[in-house]
Subunit: 210 residues, 4 copies
DNA sequence: AATGAATGAGGCTTCATTCAT
DNA sequence: GATGAATGAAGCCTCATTCAT
């Protein structure tokens, strides 16, 4: 926890971080199996063997990289949770704007992508990501929906039961951006704005029985 | 296109199909890079060299496998398109039920998973999938929304502009099933039913300006 | 057990044997750790990967090589055992002559050397060698001594209790040849002849109490 | 040669000795190639780089270590040589007892083991060991035999010509202890006592012509 | 056409050695 | 002197691909 004191330790931390940064790039570009540690080392500006001073093997590098990339997200979550008293519409706007600026436009997008693409073969990654990010994120959205419900902004408990419905379109935007935007552009801002309209439209009317 | 005539040709086609089936299993389990052609050959019941009689290399096998797995989906799409006159609510119910039964519970789920996880490094796959499946599927949903709009079931053009909003939750269900269901179960039927309620609730009211 | 029938199988057996032969040379020259499988492959006239068609890894190659080299020795042992009725002096002469011609002057010397030098870090090798060669060999020598005792050629049970005493000088000759003969020649034939004299001299006199 | 004077020099000598001690342990356990200088440094309580302050490389460390371990043996040899007037039987008893107590039960056993196992690939080691230990040791034994011959205790020159015959069984005991004692115990004291009986039995009788 | 033994390029990992602190 | 982080050469092993049968 404490910041390292000596120059040696600082340099060591910087090296470790450089390796993690390079690893994110390389793993995101090639996937775990196809990624070459030579590339990671070169991009990090260290020798191949240096990686092994910090990480037992390729797998541990991968897992540590994901965990390290996740950590800062958690701090942000706390801030978002503090906004739970905001009106629903404004809250959704804040959330989606944040998602576009702080996830889709940053390396965090690559982290999520790696969790998606490699999570199945790294259950530890999937489990960690679920515990540290997904369940917390859904919990926050759920509380937002719950508060809106209590305030009378929503006359329906669907969003509270399935906060996934709020997050599904942003996730789709991320996936589209990764796979299809080359072939067909997607206006993410408009998509999310329309999603917000959808949610607000559905918020108040009495739900029809299906 | 024509059905093979001679027994020899039939046997060849069966071999080819066995290889494609095995490849789907193996690629889905391990990903493209980590998958071993030894495993594909063994699972298909052929010798390793036989694979190269049908496919130039590992990459072509992968791409052909995805294309072959996509094809049958297209026929289904035609059928769905024919139901475009159905009332919106019923149509959504049909769509989601179909998705659960015919995608999530079958090997088609694995195909989509592979497109998600490998599409980035196989632009040809992503492009093909987008052209043959995604754009067609979104087109169908878009027409459904359009028809409903014309019939007065929807007083809002959001779904027509972004049919993605209809498909996002089913996609999320697929992803959740692949990554997180081990750690937290998701009631997909309930999720999709709630999604349908959301869509119907939002269908008629005048959209609020955002 | 059955001889391989097809040409393919024969060629395979020859390859396997070529690898084992090369492995003996390389391991004997460099020791297990320093030996390079590249060298084994080159000397065997096969590609590096071919080794792994027959042996799981370097360690298994080493162990199989020792076992394969030991096997023929056992057949010889049976022949020696059959000579147990021979007069002691003649028997010793036969034994030592055999050892010089069939061990010291052949690759079997290298096998014993490898058991000596690597046996400690390959307990499986040491155990196998002890079970298949050492205990059997000592058993034969012991019976030889026992028979000579019964026939009155020896008036003393020392050699029966410690057949090691008969084998110790041949072993020393082997070690000397491996380590010191460059610096000081050892006349092995004379050594073993003198050893035989020693044994025969000691055979009949009443042992003095020590 | 001169004892170091300053504290710094003393500390340096202690470090050097600690490294040599650790090296003996590690080399004996793993062999030259498989031994890791990391382990030597850790066991010696110094940093890895410190080893290179005293020794040019791994090979020199190994050779110096063997030489250093050999030196004390030489002093003992002088003492043994002084006993050459002792009656043969008593002399052998002293020798063998010394070997059991001062070689087999100490780290000197490991040194001999290393000379055996690595001497072939370190001719310098083998040559040094031969010159400093083997030839001197055999010389002592030879003089013992010679003196006994002159005193009439032996009526035969075999042991004088091949003092190896006296040392072979102790060497075999050492080898047996390193390789096979786990699988079959060897009573070394009894073996050597029996060996002594054998030698004494053979000492006086007129040798038969072979 | 089908086989599967053989190949060898390429990646992960280790560890002797160096050198800035 | 002493350290130990950093280096990078080298070796084991895998596996896509080839080709003689």
């Amino acid at each position: 926890m404490a910041a390292p004191k000596t120059k040696r330790q600082q340099a060591s931390q910087q090296r470790r971080q450089a390796i993690l940064d390079a690893a994110l790039d390389v793993f995101a570009a090639d996937g775990f199996s196809a990624a070459r540690l030579d590339d990671v080392a070169e991009k990090a500006g260290v020798a191949k063997g240096t990686i092994y001073l910090f990480f037992k093997d390729k797998e541990e590098l991968f897992e540590q990289m994901v965990v390290a990339a996740i950590s800062p997200v958690l701090a942000r979550f706390e801030a978002l949770a503090a906004l739970e008293t905001m009106p629903l519409d404004q809250m959704l706007d804040t959330l989606f704007t944040y998602f576009q600026a702080e996830v889709l436009a940053t390396r965090r997008r690559d982290v999520i992508w790696l969790v998606l693409t490699e999570g199945r073969r790294f259950p530890h990654i999937a489990e960690t990501y679920h515990r540290m990010v997904v369940s917390k994120g859904l919990g926050i959205i759920r509380r937002i929906a719950h508060n809106a419900y209590k305030r009378g902004e929503i006359s329906w408990d669907g969003l509270e039961r399935f906060p996934h419905l709020i997050f599904a379109p942003p996730l789709m935007a991320l996936i589209w951006g990764g796979l299809f935007s080359t072939y067909q552009e997607l206006d993410v801002a408009d998509l999310l704005k329309t999603h917000r309209q959808l949610l607000m439209n559905a918020a108040l009317p009495k739900p029809q029985e299906v």
